[in-house]
């Protein structure tokens, strides 16, 4: 290897392992000038953004149009340019393909690893340690009807260590080892997150929503975050904590999207275009989390994305398709298990059953409100008090409590997905679980899937109170689990809560119908000896209601539910429950869980769902207010370099309006702070003759200067000549609309052409918070 090759190899290694191409320099430009010297980097490009700032959507759009126009005009020059223009047009689809492939692969790996590690808490497969319980007993002939998972190759820990499989000591040893494994996994996960990628904790969806609305969080979608989130997600789901993997999978898919878009300059240099890719990547994430590609696209449209033009719809569709296809081809289980909670029954439902479905919807809405309020209160406590100083200890304590309480109850001991699967399924003759312990009529000769309603046996009663206990436990523990410093998702726990409640209601209705089939409400549709009530359907409806109550999704929820279960006959009950739960939950509070977390963190997210109905004007919101210092402006051609630098150092505004002169405050344009700093630094280093006394001018031609004056500095190229302006009597309703629809960062207020003040996005958000009687100081970022 010669030297240059070695350097190239090192560059690639550095790029893959440690360098984040988007992380230019952390921290404020002014205070950490020393930091920048230390790092000794080349100057970043004019046009990139600082961390925790909002992008300028209009500028990104116009830059993209310029780039496109340049490529189109050059494409007529030669064949090579034409090919380059074709490649540029196709690069979007190539990025989607790559995202789908990687997201599908990672989801497949996560699924397989979770399967194995969950069973590791209870025992190990002796013939091949990488098999989970079910896989281990796959080839054995010793499985019986009643105990379908028993085989000699898979042994519980008590069997392995002390050669006992029954009895009190075996139970205690299994219990103890279950807790130990759970603690071990959780501790590893939180340590990895803490040491390598602190941004990998939480669900990720609130931050991705904010990023997609134009906010910059450097490193949030980086390579290390991707790696750590994938690895620790497996660990936390296997540790038995009450969380799911769907939200983190959306984050993982967006990290993949960010990674691939940084390989193409079309997306890496333009933050607006990059967010189109991220919207599509979010769709691919939900698609692989649930095996629901259409639901994924709708979820991205409804919940995650901010701007969703039709082109993004197409791209998301393609990404979700490729991801689902990749997951299917990696799926080691052949054709089975493609639909996550496949239901095999097609029994019809009856109009009279809408009443319990609506009741379940009300329950879902109430639970959603309760969960959001309690979770936000707990997270606020974590944020402000001493509880937040011990994240590792908190994770360990919650895991210990979860493991200790979950082990005795068979419904919480197994993984939540298996629980939901069992609750959704109907009891045919082939089920042997406790939930299906009905009293069978020995003379019954009906075929397998049309068994009439039967009275409940003792097993069902045991199952009912165990489910009730599990329901209460899950409701309480999820409040404390969501938001810890580990990757945590919300979908599966909410669906579990709803499924348990729904199944209990379903069994109740079924028994009521069996024992009192002469009541008026049952008489018309439920004859004795008929199969009227399907408790599994109630579980599905309950799951949809609870998920809708927490996240406030509507269309995407129903589509995801029927893609999850394959039960197309049940769309109407699902819709009824989703609508009811949304109404009930909205009656108590307008925010879903993700908006509530955005609010808690103070992100500058201007929600499209918020309505602004107050009659304030632009003058009421603009800065400077009465009594404040006048606006800091730059003049067209009468300030020196030193004046500009002093102005920048003394204030911390993001940009400065440029006016003709201090007397006539007619607006010329707007200059960004970061670009001023960079341009002046650049000029001092590179251009001859530019000193502190040089005049800075923004016009085309330099102003008239006395002789012997230093070389003036032309900064016209960083000036935005078309800043958005409104007059002072513009109603705030219109201003908020403009900010939302165009994605502005700031807007200037003029009267008869004279500059009066400026309204930034932060001011708008603070004003909205004030109008809604919330704390305007909670808006933290710019």
């Amino acid at each position: 290897l010669d030297n240059t090759a070695l350097h190239e190899f090192t560059d690639i290694l550095v790029f893959l392992l440690h360098a984040d191409p988007n992380m230019v320099n952390a921290g404020d430009m002014n205070g950490s000038g020393n930091l920048m010297d230390f790092l000794d980097e080349p100057f970043p490009d004019v046009g990139t953004y600082e961390d925790f700032h909002t992008i300028d959507w209009l500028r990104e759009k116009s830059r993209d149009t310029d780039r496109h126009r340049k490529i189109t005009s050059k494409s007529k020059e030669s064949i090579w340019e034409f090919i380059k223009s074709l490649l540029d047009a196709w690069s979007g689809w190539v990025v989607m393909l790559l995202i789908g492939l990687l997201a599908g692969t990672l989801a497949g790996v996560i699924d397989l690893a979770v399967d194995w590690m969950t069973d590791l808490k209870e025992g190990v497969c002796l013939s091949a340690f990488w098999y989970s319980h079910e896989q281990c007993c796959w080839t054995s002939n010793e499985t019986t009807f009643d105990d379908r998972d028993k085989c000699p190759q898979w042994q519980k820990w008590s069997e392995l260590l002390v050669s006992q499989s029954e009895g009190a000591s075996a139970y205690i040893l299994n219990y103890f080892l279950y807790i130990m494994w759970a603690l071990c996994f959780a501790f590893l996960a939180v340590s990895l997150v803490r040491v390598f990628a602190p941004y990998a904790c939480g669900s990720g969806i609130p931050e991705i929503k904010t990023i997609l609305s134009g906010f910059i969080i450097r490193g949030y979608l980086g390579k290390w975050t991707l790696l750590i989130k994938t690895v620790t997600l497996v660990l936390v789901v296997s540790s038995g904590l009450s969380l799911g993997k769907e939200g983190p999978l959306v984050h993982v898919a967006c990290c993949c999207g960010n990674f691939f878009s940084s390989l193409f300059s079309k997306y890496s240099k333009n933050e607006g275009k990059r967010r189109e890719v991220l919207s599509a990547a979010a769709a691919a994430g939900v698609s692989v989390a649930f095996g629901a590609p259409i639901g994924g696209v709708l979820f991205s449209l409804e919940e995650v994305s901010y701007y969703f033009p039709l082109k993004t719809l197409w791209r998301s569709f393609f990404a979700a398709l490729v991801a689902a296809f990749t997951l299917r081809s990696i799926n080691p289980f052949g054709n089975s298990r493609l639909v996550l909670f496949y239901v095999e029954y097609h029994t019809p439902w009856y109009m009279a059953e809408l009443f319990p479905f609506i009741l379940l919807g009300v329950f879902g809405g109430l639970w959603g409100t309760l969960f959001i309020r309690c979770n936000i209160a707990w997270c606020r406590r974590r944020k402000t008090t001493r509880l937040g100083k011990y994240p590792v200890l908190e994770v360990i304590v919650i895991t210990a409590i979860t493991a200790i309480i979950a082990y005795p109850n068979p419904y919480t001991r197994r993984s939540t997905s298996e629980l939901i699967s069992e609750l959704f399924n109907d009891c045919g003759a082939l089920e042997s679980s406790q939930l299906c312990d009905y009293i069978n009529d020995p003379n019954m000769t009906r075929p397998v899937d049309d068994i009439p309603d039967r009275p409940a046996g003792p097993g069902v009663y045991t199952a009912m109170w165990q489910l009730a206990l599990a329901l209460v436990f899950k409701i309480v523990i999820t409040i404390f689990t969501f938001g810890m410093k580990i990757p945590s998702g919300l979908f599966i726990p909410s669906m579990a809560v709803g499924a348990m409640a729904g199944r209990m209601v379903g069994i109740g209705v079924e028994q009521l119908a069996y024992h009192h089939h002469d009541w008026i409400i049952f008489r018309n549709w439920c004859r004795p000896g008929a199969d009227c009530v399907t408790p599994g359907l109630y579980a599905m409806v309950g799951a949809a209601a609870c998920l809708g109550g927490v996240t406030r999704m509507t269309v995407s929820l129903v589509v995801i539910m029927f893609e999850l279960t394959g039960g197309l006959e049940y769309i109407v009950p699902l819709m009824a429950a989703a609508v009811t739960s949304k109404w009930v939950a909205d009656a108590f509070g307008k925010e879903g869980i993700y908006e509530a977390h955005i609010h808690l963190n103070g992100y500058p997210f201007l929600d499209v769902k918020d309505e602004f109905t107050h009659r304030t004007l632009a003058t009421d919101v603009m800065r400077p207010r009465r009594g404040e210092a006048p606006l800091s402006v730059l003049t067209q051609d009468s300030m020196t370099v030193e004046d500009v630098e002093t102005l920048i150092k003394e204030t911390d505004y993001n940009g400065f309006p440029v006016v003709v002169s201090k007397d006539s405050e007619r607006l010329i344009g707007f200059a960004q702070r970061r670009e001023l700093i960079l341009a002046i630094k650049n000029a001092r280093q590179r251009q001859d003759g530019v000193v502190s006394n040089s005049i800075v001018y923004f016009t085309e031609d330099p102003p008239e200067l006395p002789p012997n004056s230093p070389h003036p500095l032309k900064l016209r190229r960083i000036l935005n000549l078309s800043p958005f302006t409104v007059t002072d009597h513009t109603p705030m309703e219109t201003v908020v609309d403009i900010f939302r629809k165009l994605g502005l960062r700031q807007c200037l207020v003029t009267r008869s052409g004279r500059l009066l003040g400026i309204i930034t996005k932060k001011d708008v958000l603070r004003h909205m918070a004030q109008m809604a009687n919330q704390d305007p100081e909670s808006i933290m970022f710019n």
Binding site: L6, T10, T139, F196, N601
Partner: protein, 178 residues
């Protein structure tokens, strides 16, 4: 990444003979208890008559018995499972080793290397026992030499600074992701 992709894509077509089966579940019938039958047959032969052997009921009852049984053809790819789990465990092991190195071994090494000279600590890092606490001064020292190995170390130190900033935002100041 490409390793996982290529290995999974070419291995999912390698079907082991042990990896297919037909599974028939038959519920209790009269005085026979429920049973599960597994047999390695092809998909077209996956039904009650081929798989349930020996038939527990006499001739005339076979049809009634078989009507209640449910037979499913299942296949899996054991190679995919094995490869995936082993790759995952090796990545996890590497990360754990790196974490142990960064948190425990490296500070001890640095302390021995730089001996008795006081480590320059800025105001923020006084009492900072978190990993990467001496990234600043290492950066200062390494700036003078410029060769290949140093490039990697340089990038590593810059990465450590980034992670430290992230950790401060998330864990200490609770500004993001609370």
């Amino acid at each position: 990444l490409s390793l996982i992709l290529s290995s999974s894509l070419c291995l999912c077509y390698a079907v082991n003979s042990e990896d297919v089966r037909c599974k028939c579940i038959c519920p209790p019938y009269k005085d026979h208890s429920g049973q599960i039958y597994n047999k390695n047959v092809s998909q077209k032969d996956c039904d009650c008559l081929h798989v349930v052997e020996p038939m527990p009921v006499p001739g005339p009852d076979v049809e009634a018995y078989c009507l209640r049984c449910e037979c499913k053809y299942e296949e899996r790819s054991s190679v995919t499972i094995k490869v995936t789990i082993i790759i995952y465990l090796s990545i996890l092991g590497l990360l754990l080793l790196y974490m142990v190195y960064l948190t425990l071994v490296e500070p001890i090494l640095k302390r021995r290397l730089f001996g008795h000279s006081q480590l320059i600590q800025s105001d923020e890092d006084i009492g900072d026992h978190q990993p990467f606490a001496n990234a600043h001064d290492v950066l200062a020292r390494s700036r003078s030499r410029a060769n290949v190995l140093n490039k990697v170390e340089y990038a590593q130190q810059r990465w450590k600074l980034q992670v430290q900033e992230q950790r401060k935002s998330v864990f200490d100041r609770h500004v993001v992701l609370s």
